[in-house]
């Protein structure tokens, strides 16, 4: 058998090779000192790394962690809510200003008098059902009826 790939030797050490493949590699190790040395060194390295102990959390620290995370989550939730509220107020202001400015522009700009749809909407407001009556009503109110008719 040819020497297995080093990745396969590691998979053998990690118990990740299928049983039949593992048996073949293990047989190979008995007759190949170079591969056997590689496997031994991988095992030594893993054992060395696993010696490292780390500080563990006790009950009190776990409780403190839970409390701290909850508190932070609550603060974050409030901040997010406040940010949303601020954004909503700002958006409302912009919308109101924009609508006001547009209305002012439409009512005061000589070249931009309200046209047919506006007249028709106005007619509906006055409960007129006939289009010509609506245009008449609009003309009486100073709307640009000529443009409106041409626009139709």
């Amino acid at each position: 058998m040819r020497c297995p790939d080093p990745v396969q030797l590691e998979a053998l050490v990690d118990g990740e090779l299928p049983a039949d493949r593992a048996a073949g590699v293990t047989r190979h190790l008995e007759e190949c000192p170079a591969c056997a040395t590689q496997v031994r060194r991988i095992r030594q390295l893993v054992a060395l790394l696993r010696q490292r102990s780390v500080p563990v959390l006790d009950e009190l620290e776990v409780a403190q962690l839970v409390e701290s995370v909850r508190r932070k989550a609550e603060v974050k939730r409030r901040l997010t809510f406040a940010a949303w509220r601020r954004s909503l107020v700002a958006a409302s202001l912009v919308l109101a200003l924009g609508t006001g400015a547009l209305t002012w522009y439409r009512l005061n700009s000589p070249g931009r008098r309200p046209v047919a749809p506006d007249a028709f909407a106005l007619a509906l407001l006055h409960e007129h059902r006939r289009y010509e009556v609506a245009l008449g009503a609009a003309a009486d109110l100073g709307f640009n009826v000529q443009v409106a008719v041409l626009g139709q």
Partner: protein
Amino acid sequence: MAAVEVTWPGGAAAQDRNARFEEIVRTYGTRVHTLVYRMVGSEADDLVQEVFLQVYRSLPRFRGEAKLTTWLYRIATNRCLDHLRRRRRTQTRFLSLDEYAQDCVLEAAQPGASPEAGTEALDLTREIRRCLTTLPVELRTVVVLRDLEGLEYRQIAAVLGWPLGTVQSRLHRARTLLKQQLSPYLEG
């Protein structure tokens, strides 16, 4: 990773979020802390809080498509990788010598050991820690998940979102580098 999984009697939706969160921290808090500590050292405490804050906020969206442990490990490793990459990019925050020494003493502490054995353990721990720190972050992550946390290859692939072959090749590269650096401590 041990096969213990938190289950939710009556279905996830029936559980109160806070109670679920507390159960998760009680069951997995130490494990997540250990993982984060192994990845970033003494900065672990702050990062663990960030990890669990994300867990708390994402909990209502967790539908159990992945195992809970895989989900937790994914959040924790992503946070650690972000942290390490940011630190590497900005170059503003490295372990100070005091912090480094403190980490090593904590890790090497073995109750009941003689002073000589304690010094040797400290040297070895310091050296292992140094070697791990010098690995590129992706290689460090895969070796921590496999050799220190004991995850299987397919679990690592699920946590990191890498193909299985990438996990194997990166683990091989990480171990090759570590074997070179730690050769005085390895026989043969």
